[in-house]
Amino acid sequence: MKKLSYKKLLLCAGILVILIVLPLIFNTAFSHHIMTMMCIWALLGMGWNFIGGYAGQISNGHAIYYAFGAYTNAMLLQWFNLSPWIAMWIGCLLSAGIAFLIGKGLLRFRGHVFAIATMAVAECVRLIFINTKAIGGATGVYIFNAELDPALYMQFTDTKTYVYLYMAFVVAVLLFVRWLNTTKFCYYLRAINGNETAAESAGINAANYKLWAYMLSAAIVSLAGSLYMQFMRYTDPSMILTSNISMMIVLVTVMGGVGTVYGPLIGAIVLTYISEYTRVYLSHYNGLDMVIYGVLVILIVLFIPDGLISIPGRIRKHREHKAAVKEAPAK
């Protein structure tokens, strides 16, 4: 199996300690809110990364699966009193199933047309949700119920619990992504993304693999939706099914580093931090927070096109280059 060196163990232990201590140091509800949202966005990014990063098909409509995850939790609770611990997995399956149908239809398109197609479908879904009274229509769904057992129904009173629980989810998914990154599946996706003709000529059924990647991404994004629902306890189509949300899912991944294992996590942390802080401190200027957010995004994407995760590499290269230049005149 894996060789665990002392260094790695120490690093893992260190990270674990930091994760446990962080919500205790920043012990306000607001800080916990931010940390929880970071976890949710990390999951969204990691999920989308499979279709957008590894497979290279830029879907601008993943809000669909986010919504399905959230609504599945809500409706299964309302209709069958089903615990979200079970409902979330049903949501994943449902989303994967819908992704199968949508993917079958749309994955034949590439580039800009694919992006537009996913946006169009997402908008359709939003309108369907708004017009379906059975699931709340435009008013949305609300699941808070003080009589339910907090643990069984994932409606905790202590915000710290959410933070720890969601961190655990993120760590679990991150380990899963790390493992998947070493498997044939991810290599094949990267080959398809790199050069689909070459990949096909090497025996790769590109259409199938892209579909699998799309379904997997839907399932993980759905999971994020379920967790979102349990935390916010309320949502409606205008909060969760907008094209802005879809684009931000893309943003989180790209800013962090598309196609990498840790990129989405980093992107989620930075972006959530920026958006939440600007929202709290600047929103009384009627929109200034979003302006700053937008400007920062433009700057980061312009000047760090490979994502924040590429910064250490770039610094290293810069240092190596400087060292090489220094040596040259001596010769």
Partner: protein, 243 residues
């Protein structure tokens, strides 16, 4: 039947008005090297594309190892045992050399360890060991072509389709490339190679198939073909002789 690895019968490919291949019939024996020559525009790469499943024939059949593969797609044909290289090398530039070959090696196994070992062996065999961990993007033309061959060879093919492997290579590189092709052939892999360089074709091929304007012009040993009047006319009367 079992002597022929590939049998092509009346292969015809039409692109809305343009008859790229017409009525092409030939076969390839097991372990044979068949040279495929013809002036530019004769339809050689189109034929390759039909054989490897990039597109489908308008008419005709292709039988590989006893199985009808006319309607199959690229990846299915690869799994059955046909590998190919492309005229413009299609290296997967986002991966390293080793990973490129790994992709080929994963064709018949799901086990990463097994695939890596096989990729490693293939890289050694193809003389790419020194470049193994380099990104494919920095390779020069000759190296990229060799990488293509390695990736195709890693899929354990019974038949290898090589599209202008020699184009753009220096004389030394050509010699090395020919050697690699011979070694692959010695392992029992049949080869069809599109070539413009007649020296290469003469020295390597068992037989030569000449195409002109989409049709078969001649099929026979290198000596027979080069002394064929129609072939000489096709090449000297307006076609290109040497790339």
């Amino acid at each position: 039947m079992s002597n022929y690895i590939l049998q092509v019968n009346d292969a015809t490919k039409k692109f809305s008005g343009l008859m790229a291949n017409e009525g092409i019939t030939f076969d390839v024996g097991v372990g044979e090297i068949l040279g495929l020559v013809g002036p530019n525009g004769a339809g050689k790469t189109t034929l390759f594309n039909s054989l490897s499943g990039v597109h489908q024939l308008t008419r005709g059949t292709i039988t590989f190892d006893g199985q009808d593969i006319t309607k199959l797609s690229s990846h299915q044909i690869c799994k059955l045992g046909i590998g190919r290289t492309f005229q413009i090398p299609q290296a997967i530039v986002t991966l390293s050399v080793e990973e490129n070959v790994l992709i080929g090696a994963l064709c018949h196994t799901n086990n990463m360890k097994v695939a890596r070992k096989h990729a490693h062996e293939t890289i050694e065999f193809c003389g790419l060991a020194a470049l193994a961990d380099k990104p494919a993007a920095i390779l020069n033309v000759a190296q990229k072509k060799r990488l293509e061959i390695a990736r195709a060879y890693a899929t354990d093919p019974k038949l290898l389709l090589l599209d202008e492997t020699m184009a753009g290579l220096t004389a030394t590189e050509r010699v090395e490339s020919i050697q690699l092709i011979r070694e692959i052939n010695n392992q029992g892999v049949s080869i069809v190679m599109i070539e413009h360089n007649m020296d290469v074709v003469m020295s390597v091929s068992n037989r030569v198939l000449v195409l002109d304007a989409g049709k078969v012009l001649a099929l026979g040993s290198p000596e027979e073909v080069t002394s064929n009047e129609a072939v000489i006319n096709a090449y000297l009367g307006g076609g290109k002789k040497d790339a």
